[in-house]
């Protein structure tokens, strides 16, 4: 086949493909705005599991909204995995769910940039959220698309009795952290537990925090966005610090499942676990007061302190047939009143309300978490995958598990990570 012939064939195929797929794919950009709302209840597509505190909170606030009489709202709960996999098809459907649970970060921004999310800027006009939350909820064209309702903290969790038995003291600086790890190890405890078997993303928590502590939030965000590369010497510095605590990591970690790792912490086999407040769900509920957490130790005083504070909330679908009611509901969710209802209905002590004017009594963990997050003058990030993408998370999982297993040299790992990241960003 001559070259001209071949490109004609390719073009012809491309044309045919486009035509054939026109029915298959849809444009994804917004449709013309609907004048009047359609009839029927508003659907909230929720990924919050049936009896979890979050789901109970959502039900409570929905009941409150329905009681007001402005319109009816229904919750439709789907499994979390399903929600994540089907999200594109939910939003691109001709009759999408009106409201969806989601979290702040690059995924929301990406969906908004594709025109799949409802513009909520008018709802945000009266909103009382902090500037940080406003920035989080804004897409690339400056419109707000996300209503935050709660956020949580990350910390190094430990069982108090394990530490007491080992004579280890809760650290605030890096040196103290090393000392505590030594003490634990000397007492036969594996200092740092982690579950790489089925939750390799846990390693990203360590990467994020080490990067935040060594290089600061700005650099961390730049790396995730692709403006800095993974084989940069500043990243190497992160791993140099990590090398100092590497001996304290659980050598069995590559084969350990998350449930097992939590049980290890409970049974005192491991000493600490860097995790979000959701770790509490994997600890025996009747003995939660036996556990505590501390802020990730400070490495460099000159680096502005940054923390991770993943934020959850709600979005509206751009193609909804009830935009007015959707905005009313989302506006209600943004108020202090609604978030108070949600907070009080949630029996767990694992969240902080996003609205600063919510008047609730925080539990001891939440108070501590709040202090940690308020100390973050250098900025608050969301977590590796929320700030970048699930695809980039997969590259991190690969690189970090290789690092923790000592499978390759650091320069090889970082070079490979960078090329994988570039491949992911190229799409």
């Amino acid at each position: 086949m001559t070259r001209r012939h071949r490109s004609a064939v390719v073009l012809g195929m491309a044309g045919t493909v486009t035509l054939l797929l026109a029915g298959c794919l849809g444009t994804g950009t917004g449709t013309t705005p609907v004048e009047e709302d359609a009839e029927g209840p508003l659907t909230v597509q929720s990924r919050l599991a049936g009896d979890s505190g979050d789901a109970v909170a959502l039900q409570a606030v929905v009941d409150a909204f329905n009681a007001k009489g402005g319109g009816q709202v229904e919750i439709n709960t789907v499994p979390n995995e399903t929600f994540r996999d089907q999200l594109p098809s939910y939003l691109t459907a001709s009759n999408p769910p009106d409201v969806l649970t989601l979290y702040g970060g690059s995924l929301t921004r990406e969906l908004a940039d594709e025109g799949l999310l409802l513009d909520l800027s008018d709802v945000w006009e009266g909103a009382e959220f902090s500037d940080g939350l406003r920035a989080l909820s804004t897409d690339s064209s400056g419109n707000q698309v996300f209503i935050p309702t709660s956020y949580y903290w990350l910390g190094v969790y430990y069982k108090k009795s394990t530490w007491e038995a080992a004579g280890a003291e809760v650290p605030t600086t890096w040196e103290e952290f090393l000392t505590a790890s030594e003490a634990l190890q000397a007492n036969g405890v594996v200092p740092i537990g982690i579950a790489l078997g089925d939750a390799p993303w846990l390693a990203s928590a360590w990467f994020d925090y080490l990067n935040l502590r060594v290089n600061g939030a700005d650099f961390h965000i730049d790396v995730l966005a692709g403006d800095e590369s993974f084989d940069d010497p500043q990243i190497e510095a992160v791993f140099e610090k990590w090398d100092e605590i590497l001996p304290y990591f659980d050598p069995e970690a590559p084969g350990i499942a998350f449930g097992q790792a939590a049980t290890d912490l409970t049974q005192g086999r491991t000493g600490m676990f860097l995790a979000g407040s959701w770790l509490a769900f994997s600890l025996p509920p009747e003995s939660l007061d036996e556990y505590d957490f501390f802020q990730f130790p400070i490495i460099d005083d000159s680096v502005p302190l940054a923390e991770e504070g993943p934020t959850d909330g709600f979005v509206g679908a751009a193609n909804t047939d009830q935009p007015k009611l959707t905005k009313e509901f989302l506006a209600f969710l943004a108020t202090a009143e609604a978030q108070q209802i949600m907070f009080e209905a949630n029996p767990n002590d694992t969240l902080l309300p996003a609205n600063p004017n919510v008047d609730v009594e925080l539990g001891p963990d939440a108070l501590k978490g709040q202090l940690i997050l308020e100390s973050a003058v250098g900025g608050v990030t969301q977590f590796f995958n929320r700030d970048s993408s699930d695809a980039l998370q997969a590259t991190a999982d690969q690189a970090l598990t290789q690092y923790l297993a000592g499978a390759k040299s650091l320069s090889d790992i970082l070079a490979e990570w960078q090329s994988e990241a570039e491949r992911v960003r190229a799409g």
């Binding site: 029915g23 298959c24 597509q45 990924r47 919050l48 599991a49 049936g50 009896d51 979890s52 439709n76 709960t77 789907v78 499994p79 979390n80 995995e81 399903t82 996999d85 089907q86 098809s89 939910y90 459907a93 001709s94 769910p97 449930g259 097992q260 939590a262 049980t263 409970t266 049974q267 979000g276 959701w278 770790l279 769900f281 994997s282 600890l283 025996p284 509920p285 009747e286 003995s287």
Partner: protein
């Protein structure tokens, strides 16, 4: 020994010429031997079954534990206390009653339709000289070689454009369609073995095509149909992917998705999920036990005589 087997020539044990004398001592020895064989069989079978059953046993154990027991002691530990709360909670939280009904609404029609249609097609392809019959068969089978993930989005579009998105009906249709190639191929394999004499005898008697099908061929493939019925029930009942792609509202979800909904983003109460799984397994176990008795008995090939 390289004796060639010639069934027609060998005398059958019921033949009157079989020696009757000298059975007493032989009887005693063979009875002992058969008892050893039975014990041997049962010990091997019991060991095998016990080993096989072990992971399920773990699931059962976990379904009778409390969540904090599982969290404190791990999934492979003996229960501290036996409770049945998990079953009640799982039933309520996952709305299993409704999900079970949905699963049955999907599965039963699919199994019936699939067995019917595939045995029709296999019958036609194996017993008659249809042109290109082997190509057709291979083509139908080829349809099943495609990974389901390849077709999820096209299926979704079909569902949306036909207005059947989020209904059980479209799940039934697509489940049936996507199994046909497989099952036709399997039924073809079983139907091939039926000697043509039976068919000839039927047509000499004046039976039409459908009569031949119903009265001669179908009964002879009973073990195969029973096996396929049990297997297809299990496969369709346990399908998750198609259900979560084509259904959006939780009230439509079958039991597989309902069990999955007990898994939170960061939390999982394994005692609940284990209990839900046990509940979800019950229909399939019942079906399997029911179909077992159809495995009994070989083909009545002796009828030719």
């Amino acid at each position: 020994m390289t004796t060639t087997i010639n069934a027609a020539a060998a005398p059958l044990p019921s033949d009157a010429s079989y020696p009757v004398a000298a059975t007493k001592p032989r009887q005693g020895r063979s009875r002992w031997r058969s008892r050893v064989k039975t014990t041997g069989f049962h010990s091997v079978a019991i060991t095998l079954s016990a080993l096989w059953f072990f992971p399920i046993f773990l699931v059962l154990l976990n379904s009778f534990r409390t969540n904090s027991d599982v969290l404190r002691n791990g999934v492979a530990a003996w229960p501290e206390v036996f409770v049945i709360d998990s079953y009640v909670t799982a039933w309520v939280n996952a709305e299993m009653g409704r999900a079970m009904v949905n699963s049955l609404i999907i599965t039963i029609p699919v199994v019936v339709l699939t067995l019917l249609l595939s045995s029709f097609a296999a019958f036609g392809l194996s017993r008659y000289r249809i042109p290109f019959r082997r190509t057709l068969l291979l083509l139908m089978l080829a349809g099943n070689l495609l990974p389901a993930q390849l077709m999820l989005i096209p299926w979704l579009k079909i569902a949306e454009s036909s207005g059947l998105y989020d209904t059980l009906f479209i799940v039934i249709l697509i489940q049936t369609a996507s199994g046909l190639g497989f099952y036709t191929f399997i039924m073809y394999g079983f139907m091939r073995a039926i000697p043509v004499e039976l068919q000839d005898a039927a047509s000499i008697d004046g039976a039409g095509v459908l009569r031949t099908y119903w009265q001669i061929i179908l009964p002879l493939t009973r073990p195969a149909l029973a096996a396929l019925g049990a297997l297809s029930f299990t496969w369709v009942f346990n399908d998750l992917l198609l259900a979560i792609t084509l259904l959006r509202t939780s009230s439509q979800f079958p039991i597989t998705a309902a069990v999955l909904s007990l898994l939170g983003e960061f939390s999982a109460e394994w005692n609940l999920i284990a209990a839900a799984t046990v509940i979800a397994a019950i229909p399939c176990v019942i079906v399997f036990l029911m179909f077992q008795k159809h495995f009994v008995g070989g083909l009545a090939l002796g009828a030719v005589k």
